[in-house]
Symmetry: C2
Subunit: 473 residues, 2 copies
């Protein structure tokens, strides 16, 4: 069988936004899809390719394991690695990397590969992987019978204790571990709240513009989402009261509104809590990135003002650690603990022991607090660098809003450009963006791009990416 | 500060059913709860205790980490380990080991510690922990950016492929990886099916007696559970047709009925599929332990007979691997793939990358198939030994039903004894059992104990446990 030389493949580009492992992956995938490499062909061993390209072995391994996981190649031990012999066009469900055409047709909020500017991701290059791997290995080795059976349904007791202590110190929330429920992510948290406190036919205020999955989730649970405008002070509470005074709940992102990044002002916070107390309604605080504020200190959570026990606080490890953990949490008012215990017992069976144990160890050894400190500093720099690089290349066509916090920039498009069309073209070019008008309901939104900056390492990278966007405008 | 000598504590009992780590844990906990050890007291270092008791270091470490996780003790580095200074009576939610009184009042289906005869657990002592730890450590070290972002919503592609291949070989199910959806457990699987295919007010057949959480889950989703009797051939399909001909679905456990362990006969299987096809109803096959049959070979799944695409197949790794993984799966008919993809996108965000990666590696290296083979042999022996030991000690008062498969024995109580009262007394004595009448609705059930045998290692252990039950009768 012939061995495909790397020289068969287009050269790597050190200036490209995609990391090398991704470029190698893309080149092999395209070569296989395009017939340059045929089923059964041998490809160079990871060791040989490492040597030939002069890259780190881990880079090649990452590309190869991605290709193998997706079925493009097969390691055959001593016989080397070959292109999968019975490779067929794959059904969409098993192909984690969507074809550009598909992506363009309906840009997903959750692409299956990592793209520049991708929303909702922390800085992957600066994650303390070595520490993580050490703790992961240690927890895997330490497994004993109590950790092999069904995990505690509300979360590992020690993890709940760490979360409660962290929220006290960092977010000003006074809660006991028994008020903390570990969940598998924001969607699970919202579903749990709905199962415990809402009924079919209830109405709930949501921010407009606001995070689209919240609306979608409520709609599928037969709960009516009432869009309420957001201005420079956050959700316009008076509009909510006017549109749906008897709503059962309001979902808000007080720290940095999702997606406009404004903070809910103190008068609005008090008005919202007052409305909730008078109507026995619930305030669902989604504090997904409250830690990431770059001007002055992070604001305390809305929950810290909750005297009447109306606020349900939703936190997540997806932004401060990694989305792949599938770990989030919910803090419920003391009077609701029993209700949430009952509902958790019926609907959930706990999160995996191993991931909870690793996060617990990460807290215990002090890495959690250090990591957040480091990321806050890093993101302040990357935000600045990304804004500067995009301003330099796209400044004539966009206005870049800067807000004191968050993980993404908002680029308002000047003139009559469609943000949706531009986003579709960007996805075709393997650049991620979301269109602000997609986050808006019931009225014409401002056309703007939402671009995550946490994985843009330098101003020069931002300029390179800005130039690519410019060509698509 | 005084150091508590092990001699303060009651001696360990090598003949007891509880492993040593558990006995050490119990003794310290009781000593702390009873005031023998006081807040702030130093306890022996793990190393010192290891030496003094002549046990393996891992045993002591397991006991200490359990005590630390639950807040009883605190490691203080060089200063040694102490009883938590501000130790207070704990709220039920944070105390993973319920007090005997509580347990007796309302025996939970999910105790938070491991008890003899506990239902739903695989053999914990025979799990290949070393292999598992090696794979876990390797997967933790191998983490690369594609494994750090949101996991594929329907499950890791490679894991779905392994599951599909395994089901083909072992359960006779012909499905593509795109029909396999990885979930976080049976409850999640059922909720997903309900969200995708059922509506508020629908009626669903459930087995009577049958797994209580299924009824509870349906009730909380406003779906009516219609109990249908089970006889020696499994669910009485004709009774279901008579009671609720237009039901939208039937939940069945065809391999070994839960809890009676009978198999659904071929005529009944065909009648059920025929009813479903004619009424466009769904058959939800819960195959939680189909592998564990000790007489002849495991029966093929009901799904293998599904020509009309009416069967949803629910599998889990809780019984064949470990419940702490929180990994299960659902196989949907080809025509329903798109619907389940849509619903998964809205309600779920995938299972943790790490646990999926470890299970994938376990499959890939051939451990999965070997492990099931080993356990089938082991469980056949333990079933025999447990039945013999209990027959010898309790034979005058119970009739032990033997069925060809499953993971538990059924001890029918002779005379007019109440199974619920006996179960409550057993829980007080730290012995697990479930009462058959608790699994039965709408009519007087047969009083019987359900006892899991997979963690009973020898006939002599079974006799010791049988004698303890005898004292409680």
């Amino acid at each position: 069988m012939p061995i495909a030389k790397p020289s068969h493949l287009p050269p790597l580009d050190p200036a490209a936004a995609a990391p090398f492992y991704r470029q190698i992956y893309d080149r092999f995938r395209d070569a296989i899809a395009g017939g340059v490499l045929k089923p059964g062909d041998r490809i160079p061993s990871a060791r040989a390719l490492t040597k030939e390209l002069g890259l780190a072995r881990g880079t090649i391994d990452a590309a190869y394991s991605l290709l193998a996981a997706e079925g493009y190649i097969q390691p055959r031990g001593q016989a080397g690695t070959i292109v999968t012999p019975d490779l067929k066009p794959r059904a969409p469900a098993t192909a984690p990397v969507p074809k550009p055409e598909n992506t363009a047709a309906a840009p997903s909020f959750r692409p299956d590969s990592v793209l520049p500017f991708q929303m909702g991701l922390p800085a992957l290059d600066e994650f303390p992987r070595k520490i993580w791997a050490r703790l992961g290995a240690r927890c895997a080795r330490a497994m004993q019978p109590p950790g092999m059976v069904h995990p505690a349904v509300y979360g590992l007791p020690e993890l709940r204790t760490h979360i409660a202590a962290y929220l006290q110190v960092s977010r000003g929330i006074d809660c006991s571990p028994s008020q903390v429920f570990v969940t598998s992510g924001y969607r699970h948290t919202i579903a749990l709240i709905a199962q415990a406190l809402l009924r079919v036919g209830d109405r709930v205020w949501v921010e407009n513009p606001g995070y689209p999955p919240t609306r979608e989730l409520l709609r599928h649970m037969n709960i009516g989402a009432v869009p309420v405008s957001v201005d420079q002070d956050g959700m316009v509470v008076s509009e909510g009261i006017k549109r749906a005074p008897r709503a059962r709940a309001a979902v808000v992102t007080p720290a940095h509104q999702s997606p406009l990044c404004v903070s809910l002002s103190l008068p609005r916070r008090l008005a919202l809590l007052d409305w909730a107390a008078r109507n026995k309604a619930w305030v669902i605080e989604d504090d997904y990135d409250g830690e990431y504020r770059y001007v002055s200190r992070p604001l305390p959570a809305l929950k810290s003002l909750d005297r009447e026990g109306r606020v349900l606080y939703c936190g997540t490890f997806s932004k401060v650690l990694l989305p792949s953990l599938r770990l989030a949490y919910l803090v419920v008012p003391q009077a609701q603990v029993e209700r949430f215990e009952q509902i958790s017992q019926i609907f959930t069976a706990g999160s995996p022991e191993l991931t909870q144990a690793v996060v617990t160890a990460f807290f215990k050894e002090g890495h959690f607090a250090r990591h957040i400190q480091r990321m806050r500093k890093l993101y302040a720099e990357r935000r600045q660098a990304t804004a500067a690089g995009l301003e330099k290349t796209l400044g004539k066509y966009v206005r870049i809003d800067t807000q004191p916090g968050g993980m993404h920039l908002i680029l308002k498009l000047q003139g009559r450009r469609s943000d949706r069309q531009l986003v579709a073209r960007m996805r075709q070019a393997s650049l991620y963006a979301e269109a602000l008008t997609e986050w808006t309901v019931d009225r014409a939104g401002t056309p703007a791009l939402l671009l995550n900056f946490t994985n843009v390492d330098t101003q020069s990278t931002a300029e390179t990416l800005g130039k690519r966007i410019l060509q698509l405008m």
